[in-house]
């Protein structure tokens, strides 16, 4: 892969309800922050990829809302529908193709504007599944049970993910839900869908994130040292929940392996300094870590208990607080990438993991993590 880097990142705060902001307002904020971060103006942006979802936005051509605010009026532009990490991948190909030297990638959603269970229910097959009235939480509850049953991961271990991530969010001024919790707080919180308690679940939030990707030549002109893209890959599993082994994430394993191979990484746990992954639910953090090969199958819960994924552990995971502390769907994976960029630059403020040089960012799409996108970044 030719050299390409992320040279600017910007994001709004993650909030429960940005009542005074339209999608365009959020995009304007994130895009300008990213441009300032890169030391660039819109003239330095060769093309734009926005990421949004029509159902979440209540708008059939959701990208239309953010066009002007993303600087797209007189530039080549496209739109990915899916998690922002995938949007960034397409933005990367548009640089690697040689057509453009820089791509501005944005991703947004405002979960506050709709009833999320109706939105996620619409992801189910209209012929066989939708009438059952499931949504993302009930589907993920199925997956959590399957995973816990197969691996022996316990409810306490899940709860510990929530404790860690909400606690990490206390250092993140942009996080929605910084909280100091105990395992019992999580286990005592309302049971939403067995085995997921309220504090096992991420909220549904509002936010927008923007990143700027550049080829090697254009990266030389940016304000801060570029963060190089060493590997990037994505892969989708089957669709029907019944067609899949919900206790495993083979698509993530495949994507991660491809990304690590591109980056020349053979032992991720040793070679990676920090991970930001898609923890929409507590069990997912453990499941995704195993699937990506950061630890042996069924071992993540124990390693978490040993403190290995804490901020001062051997492999810090979600030092930003992750999605459990604020989940703007669609923007989520792009924010993971932005957080890793900040970590590798030494710009992560109170969330900083000392000496982080190589990081992994992860985004997911579809029900129960059907599709995954993995990025390996290096300073």
């Amino acid at each position: 892969m030719d050299k390409a880097a992320i040279i600017g990142v910007g994001m709004t705060a993650v909030e429960a309800n940005k009542a005074t902001d339209t999608f365009a307002d959020m995009a304007w904020e994130a895009v300008n922050k990213a441009l300032e971060d890169a030391g660039m103006t819109l003239n330095d942006i060769d093309n734009i990829v926005t990421t949004s979802n029509d159902f979440w936005d209540g708008r059939t051509i959701s990208c239309m809302a953010v066009s002007d605010a993303s600087g797209a009026r007189s530039k080549n532009v496209s739109c990915v529908e899916g998690d922002g990490a995938f949007g960034a991948f397409y933005g990367l190909t548009r640089v690697l193709s040689g057509s453009y030297g820089t791509t501005l990638v944005t991703a947004h959603s405002k979960g506050s504007e709709s009833i999320s269970s109706l939105i996620t229910n619409a992801a189910f097959d209209p012929i066989y599944d939708r009438a059952l009235g499931m949504d993302i939480i009930t589907a993920c509850a199925l997956q959590a049970n399957a995973y816990m049953s197969r691996t022996g991961t316990t409810a306490e271990q899940l709860a510990r993910v929530s404790v860690k991530n909400h606690g990490n969010a206390c250092q993140n001024p942009l996080a929605q839900l910084p909280m100091t919790l105990t395992v019992n707080d999580v286990l005592d919180s309302e049971m939403i869908a067995d085995p997921l308690h309220k504090l096992d679940c991420s909220p549904v939030s509002d936010a927008c994130c923007a990143v700027i990707i550049a080829n090697e030549e254009r990266a030389a002109g940016c304000r801060e040292a570029p963060v190089w893209i060493k590997g990037a890959a994505f892969c989708s599993d089957a669709f029907f929940l019944g067609d899949r082994d919900l206790s495993r994430a083979p698509a993530l394993t495949q994507a991660a392996k491809k990304a690590f191979d591109m980056a020349g990484i053979e032992r991720p746990a040793d070679d990676i300094d920090v991970v930001e992954l898609y923890d929409a639910f507590t069990y997912q953090e453990l499941m995704w870590l195993e699937a990506m090969g950061f630890c042996e199958d069924a071992q993540a819960g124990k390693k978490l208990e040993n403190g290995e994924f804490d901020r001062n552990g051997t492999l810090p995971v979600n030092p930003s607080g992750g999605l459990l502390s604020g989940h703007p769907v669609i923007a989520a994976g792009l924010i993971r990438m932005a957080e890793i960029v900040k970590q590798l630059r030494g710009d992560a403020g109170a969330c900083q993991i000392a000496g982080a040089r190589r990081g992994v960012a992860h985004g997911a799409n579809g029900l129960c993590g059907q599709s995954h996108c993995v990025w390996v970044l290096e300073k």
Binding site: S78, T93, S236
Partner: protein, 387 residues
Amino acid sequence: MGKKRVAIVGTGQTYHKSHRPDVNGQELINEAVQRALTDAELTIGDIDAIVIGNMDHFEGINYVDCWSVDGSGGTMKPIIKLTTGGTTGSTLAIGGYHMVASGMFEKVLIIGWEKNSESDTTGAITTAFDPIWDRLVFAGAISGLAAEAQAYMAKYGATEIDGARVSVRDRKHACNNPHAQLRKEVTIEEVLESPMLADPIHLLDVCPRTDGACAVIMASEDVAETITGTPDWIWATANRHKYTYLGDVNWGELDSIAEASREIYAKVGIREPRKEIDVIELYQPYSFAGIIWIEDLGIVPRGKGAEYIHSGATDMGGELPVNPSGGVIACNPIGATGLIRCAEAALQVMGKAGDRQVPDVNLAISTGFGGCMWTDILLHGKEKPDF
């Protein structure tokens, strides 16, 4: 890995119809996919990534790229969805191009589809526009297009007869295209006598509603010539999704196609498109666009579009045939339509267009249209480009 030149090596389409109750969306997609694979003599195992799109609210399915893996063949493959409204199909083609040109994937399957029969087309199009400012009065695509026609007619004196002549052309061309939905000619009188939908657009001036899918396989230069003896090389792509509110549009001139085409001509060194382009598959959702947008493309000067159309220059056998496939007026499965234009241009370049073949095609243009008067353009070429 690095930058690669990219060619279309195979295409497939369904036989587009107003209703396909015999298949669900996945099966519809699969028909097009199987045809494209057969055309390219490849199997799904040869495909490295899938780029797919439609307009979500037409089928009422969220995360539809995830939902459709059984039809697309995407299980355990990289799948990504692009969607930009009416321009989706051409946006997908451009997406596939970059995925291959980047060197990240060698063979990419691009799928555009729509099952418009499954929902209320006008309703879903109306919700594409701003809920606070634009939805009250807007009545789906036809209303905006009618406003464009009114503005152009007031300025240049074009008439309903000029528009109707475009419909006559495309409906005649469609008779050569076994995939087109509407394969019966119409006369100017029939167009003018058909019900008025929104002044000045009559029913026969405008596209139908269609269920259909299209698949295109793009491959990198490393393998394209081993897959087919007649690859269709993608010379350039450009687009403009210019406006966010309908009231910002410069009615009567399609700024987006003017800007995007200028970019392509400059990139490639085209000075006289009328002479240098051999065929255009124009995403022309209604008849008057066939007059206005060829002016914006720089084929003829402003105000001269109607004259050019009446001269027969854009008919089969003319100087610059437009829509040998019959275009959008004969067939419009919205998420596929832009990709069908791309596939049809590819067939022209590859010499596989059967009864609708234009002779000696070297350079072809395919366009997409949608949203707030947006445009995507691809330039196709028989020769491998040297850039």
